[in-house]
Each structure stands twice: as structure tokens, then as C-alpha cells.
């Protein structure tokens, strides 16, 4: 590697930062929406919210694909020197797992609606009909994907909680730049 890409510096670029927070808000919002919509007594509101959950899910999927494509061309900035060896190894693994959840959740949701015997069309934001994944529909397949989506959602939000705790720890306890560099882009491209 001769010329280091922009992100291989002390911080993230604006694109990475905006995508991170947009996706973070959508991901946590999707969890809350999903949790609430299946517990409502009004079936009408539940129906409308499930359609909204599917719409935001596909918006999320699109942004995540964009984010991964962007990230593949730009390695993460190196961690501050103060970060210990354990975290140095753990952080990239957790980030990789977070990427996996960001992909797996929308995909499992898409599989769920595709195999559902209810055959409710998915029309993101009432704009176009999203085709179903080519999976056979059946009650068994629907229960399977509903369970998978459920486990992924709860495991995913658990990992996000850990990720959030780590970010807060860096900021308030270790008082390093890990959180702030995900808030403002680095203006200079050299390390330190």
C-alpha cells in the first residue's frame, strides 16, 4: 500500500460518519418499531406499522450495502495508542459482527415476508412493489424465518448495547478520541 486511503488516518470521513449515525438511528428505531408493532391491541395500527417497518428495513438494507461498499475501499482509522491489546483485537471483531447483523436483519425480514402464507405485498413507502426472495412459502418456513428474525434482532440489539457501552467507556472513562472521531471528520489526513 503506497498511498493510504483517506480513512487510514486519525479519524473517519464525513461519509462514514453520516452513514454510521443514519444506520444506527434506523437500526435502533427498527428494533423499537418491531418490538412495539407486534404488541399492539389495534390490528389496524399494527398493520400500518409493520408496513412502515418493512419500508425502513429496505431503506436500511440499501444504506448498509452502500456503507459496506464504501468501507471496503477505506480501512478503519487506527485506534489511539492508549487502546490496549485486548480491545485492539476485540473492536474490529465486534464491528465485523455489527456489519453482519446490519445485513442479516433486513435479509431475514425480507425472507420472512417472502415465505409468509399471508402473501402481503411489500411496497416500500408505497413507491414500488419489492419482489419476494425466491423461497417457497409455507407455514413452517414462515415460523422459521420469524424465529430467525427475532433471535437476530435481540442478539443484534444486545451487541449494539455492548458497542454503545464501549463507546461511552472510551469517552467518559478512558477520555480518548474514539467517540469524538465518529462525530466529527478528521480535517487532516496524517496520523496524530
Amino acid at each position: 500500500m503506497s498511498a493510504l486511503p483517506k480513512n487510514q488516518t486519525a479519524g473517519y470521513g464525513w461519509t462514514a460518519i453520516i452513514l454510521h449515525w443514519l444506520i444506527a438511528a434506523l437500526f435502533i428505531g427498527q428494533f423499537v418499531l418491531g418490538f412495539v408493532m407486534v404488541r399492539l391491541s389495534s390490528q389496524r395500527t399494527a398493520f400500518e406499522l409493520i408496513q412502515l417497518h418493512k419500508s425502513f428495513g429496505f431503506l436500511l438494507l440499501g444504506l448498509v450495502i452502500l456503507r459496506i461498499a464504501w468501507r471496503l475501499g477505506r480501512p478503519a482509522p487506527s485506534l489511539p495508542r492508549s487502546v490496549g491489546p485486548f480491545e485492539r483485537r476485540a473492536a474490529p471483531l465486534v464491528h465485523l459482527a455489527l456489519y453482519a447483523f446490519q445485513l442479516a436483519l433486513p435479509l431475514s425480514g425480507w425472507a420472512l415476508v417472502s415465505v409468509s402464507v399471508l402473501e402481503i405485498p411489500t411496497v416500500p413507502f408505497n413507491l414500488f412493489v419489492m419482489p419476494n426472495l425466491p423461497l417457497g412459502e409455507s407455514d413452517t418456513a414462515e415460523s422459521f424465518w420469524a424465529a430467525t428474525h427475532w433471535y437476530l434482532a435481540y442478539a443484534g440489539i444486545g451487541l449494539v448495547a455492548l458497542h454503545l457501552a464501549a463507546a461511552l467507556r472510551h469517552h467518559f472513562w478512558l477520555r480518548d478520541t474514539v467517540l469524538t472521531r465518529m462525530i466529527t471528520a478528521s480535517s487532516h489526513h496524517d496520523r496524530e
Binding site: Q43, F47, L118, P121, V123, N126
Partner: protein, 191 residues
């Protein structure tokens, strides 16, 4: 005038074919009770991307009154019990019964009361009436085709389109069409 047209139809039928209706409608006058066993009320709602939601009501009642001297004074009344809706998917049925759609607990009946019947052909008529669902009443039109008449039994094939949004049942639009296509077979027994 009704009688005259039927007289003509009767003559035509004698020459042409074994058409049920024309010959016998002269005898059709009278009142009929709709027999649920040999009747059906189907509906279908199109959805984006093709296909649709099909269902039927298992329980309903009604009557047909045919006035031979003035067809305009004929009447068709029926009451549907939305609790009995069936689509083949129990989750969809529960959804339709719930307050999202029929609110069958608070509105156990959907009623149609005809206000005018106009002949549109030898064996067809346009039935206009007032449809009441979820406490809202609007004028709706149905096309009735005579499908058979024998031994005190009369059969009509009734079709029509109803906009569900007017009755506070717009949930799911535009994914599911606002237009509900009704397709009914009403068999009445003279009573």
C-alpha cells in the same frame, strides 16, 4: 311494459332455445327468502403486484320480492354477518373481523336495502340500494342476472363494486385496492 318485454322474450325463447327465464318470469312474481345453503357471497380485493385477497361470508340472510306488474317496485334486501368471513387464512379472518376492518363485535351486521330496480336486459337488472356497514350508509349499485327459475326457486347472479374506504375500512390501501368486487349467487325460495 315489463310484461310486454317478457312476452317478447317468451316468444323468442320458444323459438330459440330452452331459456329458463323468459318463459317463466311471468310466474316469478312473489317473495322469496334467500337460502344460504345454495347461495354464496364472495368478494375479492386486488393487490399491488398482482393477485388478490379472496373471501366469502358464510352467514347471511335476505329476501327478494319480484313485482311482476312493475319491476321497478321489486326489492332485494340482504344482511351479511361479517363475523362469518372466511379467506382460508385464520390470521386474515381475525384481522378482517377486528376493528381494523369490520369491527364485527360492535357492528355485527352489514345491510343492503334496495331502493330501485331497473331492467337492463332480458334477464338482467340494475339494483340500486343503500348499503350500511360500520354505521355508515351509502348508495351502491349491483347488477343482477337471472340464473334460473324453477319450482318456486329463483336464482340470481349478483355482481358489484364497493369502495371500502367510504365505510371506514380503508386499512391497507393502496397495497390492497380500495375496490371490493362482490360476486354473489342468491338463491331464493318462494315463501
Amino acid at each position: 311494459m315489463y310484461a310486454r318485454i317478457f312476452g317478447f322474450a317468451a316468444a323468442a325463447a320458444c323459438i330459440a332455445m330452452p331459456v329458463f327465464a323468459a318463459v317463466a318470469l311471468g310466474d316469478a312474481a312473489g317473495s322469496y327468502i334467500i337460502r344460504p345453503g345454495s347461495s354464496s357471497i364472495h368478494f375479492s380485493i386486488g393487490k399491488l403486484g398482482g393477485g388478490g385477497l379472496d373471501g366469502a361470508f358464510a352467514r347471511f340472510k335476505g329476501s327478494i320480492l319480484i313485482d311482476n306488474s312493475d319491476v321497478g317496485r321489486s326489492q332485494v334486501n340482504f344482511t351479511i354477518f361479517p363475523e362469518s368471513v372466511g379467506t382460508g387464512q385464520s390470521r386474515i379472518d381475525a384481522f378482517l373481523r377486528s376493528d381494523a376492518v369490520f369491527d364485527a363485535a360492535d357492528n355485527p351486521e352489514i345491510q343492503f336495502r334496495s331502493t330501485s330496480v331497473k331492467r337492463t336486459g332480458d334477464t338482467s337488472a340494475l339494483v340500486t340500494g343503500r348499503l350500511t356497514a360500520r354505521g355508515k350508509t351509502f348508495q351502491e349499485k349491483f347488477t343482477a342476472d337471472l340464473g334460473g327459475l324453477k319450482a318456486g326457486t329463483i336464482k340470481f347472479h349478483v355482481t358489484g363494486k364497493v369502495l371500502r374506504s367510504r365505510y371506514g375500512m380503508d386499512v391497507g390501501t393502496p397495497i390492497y385496492s380500495n375496490v371490493v368486487d362482490f360476486d354473489m349467487t342468491l338463491t331464493g325460495r318462494r315463501g
